[in-house]
């Protein structure tokens, strides 16, 4: 099986770097960006299997980024990560458009499991 390519997007650089390193240790080709523009740019440049995306970010927010990503590649699964809650009625429709929504802090094994599921889907 080809190596799984994951793009991690969060404004917290420390978090992104830790995710990238830990996923790489689990044989996942991961790379990270800390803002929306870079994320869209990377998606345009490279084919990813899964995008891990923080909802609340300065500048372009998570939902906007997800929309732009879906414009580029409608089949690319997005796992949303939030420091708030996933049962948010205001953004119910947007959350439904993602593959999964997880609340921080996320256990790495659960994250890997969700990535695998997303890839298989």
């Amino acid at each position: 099986m080809d190596e799984i390519r994951v793009l991690c997007v969060d404004d917290e650089e420390e978090l992104v770097s830790a995710w990238v390193e830990r996923l790489q240790m689990r044989s996942i080709e991961a790379e990270g960006v800390t803002n929306g523009q870079d994320a869209i740019k990377r998606v345009k440049e490279k084919k990813f299997d899964v995008v891990i995306l923080d909802i609340k970010m300065p500048g372009i927010g998570g939902f906007e980024i997800m929309k732009l990503i879906k414009n580029e590649d409608p089949d690319l699964p997005v796992i949303l990560i939030t420091g708030h809650q996933c049962q948010d009625e205001e953004n119910e429709g947007l959350i439904a458009g993602s593959f999964e929504c997880l609340v921080k802090p996320v256990d790495i094994e659960i994250l890997v499991e969700k990535i695998m599921k997303a890839v298989k889907s």
């Binding site: 917290e12 420390e14 978090l15 830790a18 995710w19 390193e21 830990r22 240790m25 609340k56 990560i81 420091g83 708030h84 809650q85 049962q87 009625e89 609340v103 921080k104 802090p105 996320v106 256990d107 790495i108």
Partner: protein, 558 residues
């Protein structure tokens, strides 16, 4: 003002009740009492006029009767003295015949006598020995000499027996005169005035113009005794008027001067006669007034109590709704604050989690190195702490959910354990033992998770407060026959007195003094109602308290 109302609601409603009662009593009873008394006094007036009229008529009739009686007898004597000569009258035999004829035609005559101008009794027929008596110095003789005829008052005279004298004078041509004199029985006067005495407590009698009783009186003495009261002033017709005596009784007193005689006819109707009808009416009116007052008071009491209670309930409901709203807003604000805090903490927590995880990954993947175990132990400790923090932030986020009802399928067992989990630290601190008793057939229910958490959290917080150190709390949950579940939370705490138990679900009612808001159980009550369920409480002082919550299995249309 509103604060005072809430502080002393009982006093306020009591005052309102008393005020309403007084106003309604005054407004409804005053006209009734005034009307009743006015009615009574009007009746009394009419009754007095009627009674006075009745007495006046009787008195006038008797006066005419007496006047006619005397006039008739004077006329009879005048006829005899004019018709018969002196000699005929001086003849005792003829005089006897005349007396006999008089007696057969007119009642009351006792004797008949002829007296010359010097007062000598020349001829006499009658039961007494009066022949030869001289009347020159007697008052009646002087009167008849002057006036031509005369009716005396009652006097004893030579007979030593009360009698009336009537006399007529006849003048002859030589300027001399003689007098025909007759005596009348006083019994006849009694008979004449008897008709005025048909009331049991009435008195009718004659007095002369000097105030001596001419017939016996029921109240003022016997014949020829002195009449104790003032002689009434002269009036040509009968006079009747009500008179109040010293004891406050009203008597009807009437008098009439009898013409051509010294007699004054007096009638006195005592209050008993006069008042008898009035008493009857007064008693009837008093009964009517009494029954009306009792009836009105009962209606006023009932309606005032009902409306004040209604007002109290309505105001309580309003206050509760207002404070429900305030509480909801407060909870929503706390929820938003908690969500913000949780979110801000979750980000650094995620970094700690990932960095510690990374360290663990490194340590796990590298071959053995010095202190590898201690590093791994340290990292695990960090990860466990992160987990604990994460549980707390997730709970805080749970509170941030909106306050409207969101129906979802709820496992009560899990929910109750989750709620007790919130208070775990408190339970451990006070060594409180919590036991769960769930029946196997306990179904999942359709309800609002957040609201139910609130309900059980409120009840459990009270239970914790009540049991203090080393107590026990039992939580039961079972399915009931109808489509309901029953959750019972029983503690072994201090219990609640009956007096407090009545008010426990009222807003602002607290037994915790400054530590309680008095809102917890009222909010709980409101939520349970909103969820289509019901809540009840049983308690015994010193033994504990048991709250039972009934919830529908299927959500109702909220």
């Amino acid at each position: 003002m509103e604060k005072n109302i809430l502080k002393n609601p009982k006093f306020r409603y009591q005052r309102l009740w008393i005020f309403s009662m007084l106003i309604m009593c005054v407004v409804s009873l005053t006209p009734l009492i005034i009307l009743t008394f006015t009615n009574y006094y009007q009746y009394e007036e009419v009754h007095t006029v009627e009674f006075t009229h009745q007495v006046t008529q009787l008195l006038s009739g008797t006066k005419q009767n007496l006047e006619f009686f005397l006039r008739e007898r004077i006329s009879a004597l005048s006829f005899i003295i004019n018709e018969k000569s002196f000699d005929e009258l001086a003849d005792k035999k003829k005089l006897r015949n005349l007396l006999s004829n008089l007696k057969s035609s007119f009642d009351g005559f006792i004797d008949l006598g002829l007296i010359d101008s010097r007062g000598n009794h020349l001829s006499y027929v009658g039961p007494y020995e009066l022949l030869g008596k001289n009347y020159k110095d007697q008052e009646w003789f002087e009167e008849v000499t002057l006036q031509g005829n005369f009716v005396s008052d009652v006097f004893m005279g030579f007979r030593k027996f009360p009698h009336i004298v009537i006399a007529v004078k006849h003048e002859i041509e030589n300027g001399d005169f003689y007098v025909l004199r007759a005596t009348l029985n006083t019994d006849i006067l009694n008979d004449k005035i008897h008709s005025l005495m048909y009331w049991p407590q009435s008195d009718a009698f004659l007095i002369n113009n000097e105030g001596t009783l001419q017939t016996s009186s029921r109240f003022y003495g016997k014949i020829l005794e002195k009449y104790p009261l003032q002689i009434p002033p002269f009036a040509p017709n009968a006079v009747v008027k009500p008179q109040h005596d010293a004891e406050g009784n009203t008597n009807i007193v009437g008098y009439a001067y009898i013409q051509q005689s010294p007699f004054i006819l007096i009638v006195n109707k005592q209050s008993v006669d006069y008042m008898a009808n009035l008493f009857k009416i007064r008693n009837r009116l008093m009964w009517f007034l009494g029954i009306s007052i009792i009836f009105i008071l009962l209606v006023i009491f009932g309606s005032t109590t009902f409306f004040v209670k209604l007002l109290r309930k309505s105001e309580l409901r309003q206050a509760k709704a207002l404070h429900d709203m305030e509480y909801t807003n407060k909870m929503a604000s706390i929820g938003r604050l908690a969500a913000g805090v949780a979110h801000e903490i979750n980000n650094p927590l995620a970094i700690i989690n990932e960095k510690a995880g990374l360290l663990k990954d490194f340590a796990s993947l590298k071959p053995d190195f010095n202190y590898k175990d201690k590093v791994l132990q340290g990292v695990d400790s960090i990860l466990k702490s992160v987990d604990r923090c994460s549980v707390i932030t997730h709970r805080l986020l749970g509170f941030a959910k909106r306050m409207d009802i969101i129906t979802e399928v709820i496992d009560l067992e899990l929910l109750l354990k989750e709620v007790t989990g919130f208070l775990e630290r408190e339970a451990n601190l006070h060594n409180i033992n919590i036991d769960f008793h769930f029946t196997e057939d306990l179904p999942c229910i359709h309800s609002d998770r957040g609201q139910l958490q609130q309900v059980f959290l409120n009840i459990l917080t009270n239970a914790y407060y009540a049991v203090k150190q080393g107590g026990k709390i039992d939580i039961y949950a079972k399915k009931l026959d109808r489509d309901e579940v029953e959750i019972t939370i029983a503690d072994t705490g201090v219990g609640i007195s009956e007096e407090h138990l009545e008010h426990i679900f009222e807003p602002f009612y607290t037994t915790k003094g400054k530590y309680g808001t008095g809102l917890g159980l009222s909010i709980t009550y409101g939520i349970v109602q909103k969820l289509g369920g019901s809540i009840s409480v049983k308690s015994k002082l010193g033994e504990g308290t048991k709250f039972s919550v009934h919830l529908p299995i299927r959500s109702k249309d909220f």
